[in-house]
């Protein structure tokens, strides 16, 4: 097991920076859903590619942790591979593709299908932490709206959607109310995943590196997706099963199979799919990557 790159601290960030981020995390956990500004550091990947998630993970990861990294639900997409190997190199931790074996899961745009458990931490990569940003572009004003719990503007947007389309037209990064107080952007997870955040036993941390904000949802916190009484929030559904493992009630990726637009649907969560498929055939699921 490597003990880190030469010349770099364990976990890449220096200890002062880790402390600063942990203090920010504590504040975030104490005020669920509130965006805490922090002095985001540069890390060796570009802004927009997960630097917030990386800083949060770097601040909390320790030698006994087991890390899973996914992007679009898959362990094998290029950016997930890149981040996982980064932490393997700088923090010397065990990594895994199995959701149930990870202590920390860093994710871009999905929550795993396997329900999370007490003691697990999920770190979300967030591009835009401000749920009101496209309705009110000034930071000075959105700060006020949060302070005064003045969220009428968000409901206007939902109203307009229903008036125009008959539905709320937001399908990902669907705004939620946390602990009945703060409006929060859950990151661009599909609305399908929103219900998983509600009263999750896991600690949910959100890092926005470029926008320099951290926020959190402590375990067993209420997370409610916005809606109207007569147009309640409805997560998107897939009626088909996965073409590989047969699972239903999971998020599916559409894969184009020929140039006439033919397609098939397969699990977005590769870990779930592999294990479900293995269970069907009786084969061994993939070993933990050391």
């Amino acid at each position: 097991m490597s003990t880190g790159l030469d010349g770099y601290n364990i976990g890449y960030l220096d200890e002062q920076t880790k402390r600063m981020i942990r203090r920010t995390l504590l504040k975030a956990v104490a005020i669920p859903g509130f965006q805490v500004p922090f002095a985001s550091r540069e890390v060796p990947m570009p802004r927009g590619w997960g630097t917030g998630g990386v800083q949060v993970t770097a601040a909390i990861i320790g030698p006994d942790d087991v890390l899973k990294v996914i992007d679009q639900g898959a362990d094998d997409t290029a950016n997930a591979v890149s981040i996982r190997s980064f932490f393997a190199a700088v923090a010397g931790v065990r990594t895994t593709t199995r959701t149930d074996e990870a202590t920390i899961i860093q994710t871009r745009h999905r929550i795993p299908e396997t329900p999370l458990a007490d003691g697990q931490t999920i770190v979300y990569q967030v591009p835009g932490p401000e749920p009101l940003r496209f309705l009110e572009r000034r930071e000075t004003e959105t700060r006020r709206l949060h302070a005064l719990a003045d969220y009428g503007l968000m409901y206007v947007k939902l109203y307009e959607d229903i008036a125009k389309y008959g539905h709320i037209a937001t399908t990902y990064d669907y705004p939620v109310m946390v602990n009945g107080r703060y409006l929060m952007a859950p990151s661009p997870i599909p609305s399908f995943d929103n219900p998983k955040m509600h009263r999750s036993p896991a600690l949910q941390l959100f890092g926005a590196g470029r926008e320099k904000r951290i926020y959190a949802v402590p375990p067993y916190t209420d997370v409610e997706s916005l809606g109207f009484e007569d147009h309640p929030f409805e997560p998107q559904r897939f009626d088909e099963p996965c073409a590989i493992c047969g699972s239903t009630g999971v998020y599916l990726d559409e894969v184009i199979t020929n140039d006439k637009g033919g397609s098939m649907f397969v699990c977005s969560d590769t870990d779930h799919c592999e294990r479900a498929a293995a269970a069907l055939t009786g084969a061994d699921p993939q070993e933990v990557i050391a």
Binding site: L148, G152, Y155, V156, A163, F228, D230
Partner: protein, 264 residues
């Protein structure tokens, strides 16, 4: 509701522009007035008279350099507005007060539908039923004589008069007790003005609104206000029942103002 207390009690109010430690330019000074529920008070004067500054100071858009404003809340308590937190003031704006801007674009979301504009104050105070919000918005559009089939159109497609009526609907949908109006009819055609004033007058009576309306047009004051304040150079130079002030002006300046309008 305490009948012995006015809705708004204004004493010695003044607002100065510029650095207070250096020479000040007083926009308005030494203004006293009482406003009672259901009363319409017109503040008239030429440009530079201080009437807009006074409105700004009363509606908390401008800070008070001098004086005090006390407001009686719906549960009968009297509060000094200067002592309220920003959150409390914002709450008052959502439930108790309205502000109709001279330019309707300043008081509307120009690219949000009419229904959305009128529905927003309801949603801001917790309405969570789309159908009810839409129905309430439609009812108000009817009341301000906007065709209900325009409910999904944005005010950017409306005429000036229609925008102004929409702004009024947006302000009144939460049944406020006090509405500030800043020259709501100037910039509109004369016939449109007349219709709008009629509408304001009937709504005010129907809802028992208290209104402070700033205008340079004495005819507007005559048409809808109970009492009138005349301002010049930042000071109130005459006040009283509208009919009395306009028919029997005491101050020389008021006499000048009144005589200079053509009797129509």
């Amino acid at each position: 509701m305490n009948d012995a207390q006015p809705l708004l009690e204004v004493r010695g109010v003044g607002h100065a522009y510029g650095d207070p430690s250096l020479s000040k330019h007083w926009g308005c000074r030494d203004v006293d007035l009482d406003l009672w529920p259901g009363e319409v008070l017109a503040v008239v004067g030429e440009s530079g008279s201080g009437k807009t500054t006074l409105l700004g100071a009363l509606s908390q858009r401008l800070s008070l350099t001098e004086g005090s404003i006390r407001y009686q809340t719906v549960d009968g308590k009297v509060v000094n507005l200067a002592e309220l937190s920003e959150a409390a003031v914002r709450r008052l704006w959502r439930t108790d007060w309205g502000f109709v801007h001279q330019n309707p674009a300043d008081g509307l979301r120009m690219h949000v539908s009419a229904g959305g504009n009128v529905g927003e104050p309801l949603m801001a105070v917790g309405w969570r039923h789309y159908g009810h919000v839409r129905a309430a918005a439609a009812e108000w559009l009817e009341r301000v004589e906007i065709p209900v089939d325009r409910i999904d159109d944005a005010p950017v497609t409306f005429s000036g008069g229609m925008r102004q009526r929409l702004q009024i609907a947006r302000n009144l949908v939460v049944s406020p007790r006090l509405v500030f109006m800043d020259e709501p009819t100037s910039g509109l055609d004369v016939s449109v003005q007349a219709r709008l004033l009629d509408l304001i007058r009937s709504l005010v009576t129907e809802l028992g609104l208290a209104v402070i309306i700033v205008t340079h047009d004495l005819a507007v004051a005559r048409l809808i206000s109970h009492r009138t304040l005349v301002m010049k150079d930042g000071h109130v130079i005459e006040s009283g029942l509208t009919d009395r002030v306009l028919d029997d002006p005491q101050a020389a300046y008021t006499q000048l103002l009144v005589s200079s309008i053509l009797q129509g």
